[in-house]
Amino acid sequence: MVEYRIDRRSGVATYVQIVQQTKQALRLGVLRPGDRLPTAREVVEATAINPNTVLKAYRELEREGLVEARRGLGTFVRRSLGSVPADRSGLRARLADWLDEAHAEGLEREDMSALFRAALDEKYPEEQR
């Protein structure tokens, strides 16, 4: 079961945080098709946010076709998000190699992260929110 972590000072709208964290869980395989998302009650009891915020996030996920609400049962994952578990195609291993290389070049952790993000933004500019 996924757990949401709400950062009130991030400046990112609360419902967006839930959407993003759900998607990340889908991407990492923490959530798989058929899994049930926590109920609104469970989420708000743990995070003390307004229930409507959770529902708005779930509606957003439903609109994107990632989850579906089954009456009386809960909200369930319909499909996973694109990515295959990294190691089957060796992507993750190659990324690890790249990190070793960067480390050998004397790059700090922050430098690697900035480098990766710059390349990512150049290739796939951030989608409109």
Partner: protein
């Protein structure tokens, strides 16, 4: 309730999933809440972890039970007091009276004789009479202070009024729950006192006209208790603070008692006896006034023994003073009940007025 924040505790999710809801249960939850987005979602999937033992109790609120719960100590104290008074009376009428009677028998014809037991008998009966009669002062203190005053002062009353019980219903419950034991206890006290007082009249110096004996021998005892309760409630509703309400309610019922004590003989028409010669009314009568009839007018300022001497001297004296006879105004013992019931009625009327005023004021204050 749930655990701390989700992020803080790795065990949190497991703890929650243990309470995984049963499907389909969510839809019935929610009482009469308005339909809304969250509710819809709850029905759609979320489910509820409402525990099965969370069934609701049905029926109307029971403020009476709640009042008992809140004031159990006071109830126990009242019960203890009634029992103690009855015990003292029983002991006095059996053990002490025996000793006093033996003492009296010993004293017949003796010029020097201790009468300690007889005095103790009278003292103890008189003490209980005082306690039974003036118990209403303690009731007033309790009603103004602990029962209503403290609840209004510390907000317990507000707590109750926002449960499913209206202020008026709460006041009614408090009055009723307090009135019932007061009535029962008063009845026990009055009946036992009547029994004890009449058991050995020959040993008692107390008369039926004594203020405390007069009240303690009938329903006026209960009436004063109820009045003290009502006045305490009114004082508390007006002042909304325990100690001032206590002071005001005690002072008010004491004043009422003193006023009625002063007017007591006037509450029922008295008997007037006139005669040409001086006379004494029976010792058991309550004499209010006596004097001479001077020129057809009753004058209390002239005593019945103005003219002494031989018959001729008396005649002359009366003629000189224009005294045509003597009179006495009094209540015979048979007037006890009309006098007592009249006083009871007045006290109950005051109690009713105070109760009405308390309800009106409460209604005026709250929505």
């Amino acid at each position: 309730m749930s655990a701390a924040t989700a992020g803080d505790t790795p065990g949190g999710a497991a703890g929650r999933s243990a309470g995984t809801p049963r499907a389909g249960e969510a839809g019935e939850a929610g009482g009469a809440a308005e339909a809304r987005t969250a509710k819809e979602a709850a029905r759609e999937g979320a489910g509820s972890d409402r525990s099965p033992e969370g069934g609701r109790t049905g029926g109307r609120a029971r403020p009476g039970v709640a009042v008992l719960r809140l004031h159990r100590t006071a109830l126990l104290v009242w019960g203890g007091y009634v029992l103690a008074a009855v015990a003292v009376l029983v002991w006095t009428v059996t053990v002490t009276a025996d000793a006093a009677l033996r003492e009296q028998a010993r004293c017949v014809g003796e010029p020097v004789c201790g009468i300690a037991a007889t005095l103790a008998y009278g003292d103890r009966i008189g003490m209980v009479a005082t306690a039974v009669c003036y118990g209403f002062l303690v009731v007033a203190a309790f009603a103004g202070g602990a029962l209503f005053g403290r609840e209004l002062e510390n907000g317990t009353a507000h707590l109750v009024w926002t449960q499913s019980v209206s202020p008026a219903r709460w006041l009614a419950a408090e009055l009723a729950v307090a009135a019932l034991p007061l009535l029962l206890g008063s009845a026990v006290l009055v009946l036992s006192f009547r029994w004890a007082w009449s058991a050995h009249r020959e040993l008692l110096g107390t008369d039926w006209t004594f203020a405390d004996v007069f009240v303690a021998r009938g329903p006026a005892t209960a009436a004063y208790c109820l009045c003290a309760l009502a006045v305490g409630a009114l004082a508390a509703v007006v002042l909304r603070r325990a100690l001032p309400a206590l002071g005001v309610s005690v002072a008010s019922v004491l004043a009422l008692n003193l006023v009625l004590d002063g007017f007591r003989p006037s509450l029922w028409p008295h008997v007037t006896r006139t005669a040409r010669t001086p006379f004494e009314v029976s010792g058991s009568a309550w004499q209010i006034e006596n004097g001479a009839v001077v020129g057809g007018r009753r004058t209390a300022e002239l005593g019945p023994h103005l003219c002494d001497g031989t018959a001729a001297e008396v005649r002359r004296c009366m003629a000189e003073g224009d005294i045509t006879g003597y009179y006495a105004a009094y209540h015979p013992p048979s007037h006890f009940w009309p006098l007592h019931l009249a006083e009871t009625g007045i006290v109950l009327a005051v109690a009713a007025l105070a109760t009405g005023a308390a309800f009106l004021l409460l209604r005026h204050r709250t929505a």
